[in-house]
Amino acid sequence: MITARALTRTFQGVPAVRAVDLDVHEGEICGFLGPNGAGKTTTLRMLTTLLRPTSGTATVAGHDLVADPSGVRRSIGYVAQGGMFTPVSRIGDELRLQARLHGHSAREARRRTGEVLERLDLGGFEQRTPASLSGGQARRADLALGLIHTPRVLFLDEPTNGLDPRARAELWTYIRGLQTTIFLSTHYLDEADALCDRVLIIDDGRIVAAGSPADLKRDHAAATLDEVFLTVTGRPLEGAAA
């Protein structure tokens, strides 16, 4: 569903992502694990057409990133780090706009808005503003924006960043139930372990390990993903350079 070959991005000559190869299969939850500054968000921004790769190729849902960015945008949902509403916008209005921009009629946009909010246990929240929601509710509203058009691939950038442990665990339950291909970046090891079918570990712009959490732990004789990270990078994730 996502394929990248030698995907590279530099900023003023400084490489942020270096020749990344990756394959994400249909229906899987693939975690992109690494410390802050490792290149996770840059990779996600390339795969969602927000940044042009400096070199390399990638396809998302069969559409080439550079040759067919519109095809990519039709196929994906994207939930950015840090939210996607202004504090005063109304949840329902923004969801309907998002659906309309994906080509749905006004009636269909209304129907989808009600449906996606119900699915995420936000029924009755259409008139609410994000400022009036709890952290977990606000992230679910962000998820609703990413899901409103039933994308084939959903990109989540640090979806539980800043949430308390209970809200994080709740959000994991919702993410597991989405039944679509998900590519999520995270710097939480427990999140990668609990949520992901497969994990790609990125450090300093390079993929340094890939596999299911169980395989990674077995292959590196590690009890946790933190130990895997320590083995492949030589330092713990918590202390990795930002």
Binding site: T48, S70, Y78, A80, E94, L101, H102, G103
Partner: protein
């Protein structure tokens, strides 16, 4: 079609907050109340000279500073969210600009009604034509405001735009006709499309089409620069 969807969305959001609409007319309204009697009583000009200037002031304040809105959308990730949809960047821009034009139309109509109550006696077809001219000009103004906001960013745009509006307003001759200006100031004034629009508005309000040609040419050239530039900046990565 997408641009209409975007415009309708932002209009709904704007009209929900009536304070924003009213507040836009407050400053020109204050000029009408506190400056109008002095302006008309001192022999500088009549209401049909002052009110076209206040329309220009309203356009500069409403559309020239509309970039504030996109600064917020950028900061809260809304712009990025919209850029990952199949909607063209051009449609996203035009939708916003259309919203600004409609908002200006409502505010300008309110200002004209208020001005008539104060004593403005102008040609009705002239006022309608003048409104149309200002609205078309405002499309370019709003587009440039978005360019400035996306280029300057959150911190620089507010002080820069707030400051830039002042010379543009004064050079347009909105508050005092530029006939008595020194040559260098007159040349600088003529170089802006706003001067020609204000001159044409005054003529139209007086029931004449004098000066309409240069104003239309000025507005067309202004749009020919502003819209492609805004489309380029809106479509650029990281914008």
């Amino acid at each position: 079609m997408t641009a209409f969807v975007v415009a309708a969305h932002y209009l709904r959001e704007t009209f929900r907050n009536r304070f924003v609409i009213v507040f836009g007319v407050v400053q020109p309204g204050l000029y009408l109340v506190f400056f109008g009697p002095v302006f008309t009583g001192s022999g500088v000009g009549s209401w049909d000279v002052l009110v076209p200037g206040l329309l220009m002031q309203l356009a500069l304040l409403t559309c020239g500073l509309t970039g504030f809105n996109i600064v917020f959308d950028h900061r809260f990730g809304v712009l990025e969210r919209l850029r990952v949809t199949p909607a063209s960047r051009f449609a996203l821009l035009v939708g916003r600009v259309m919203k600004d034009a409609v908002l200006l139309l409502v505010q300008a109509t309110a200002l004209l009604v208020l001005a008539v109550a104060f004593g403005l006696r102008a040609s009705v077809p002239g006022m309608v034509a003048g409104l149309a001219l200002v609205i078309v000009m405002a499309l370019g103004l709003a587009a440039l405001s978005y360019v400035a906001a996306l280029t300057l960013g959150d911190e620089l745009f507010p002080p820069v735009a707030g400051t830039a509006v002042v010379p543009l307003l004064l050079l347009s001759g909105a508050l005092l006709p530029m006939e008595g200006a020194p040559a260098w100031l007159d040349v600088a004034s003529q170089a802006t499309p706003f001067r020609h629009v204000v001159d044409a508005l005054r003529a139209l309000f007086a029931g004449s089409a004098d000066g309409l040609g240069p104003a239309v040419i000025g507005v067309v050239l202004f749009l020919a620069v502003a819209l492609p530039l805004a489309t380029h900046v809106f479509g650029r990565e990281n914008a």
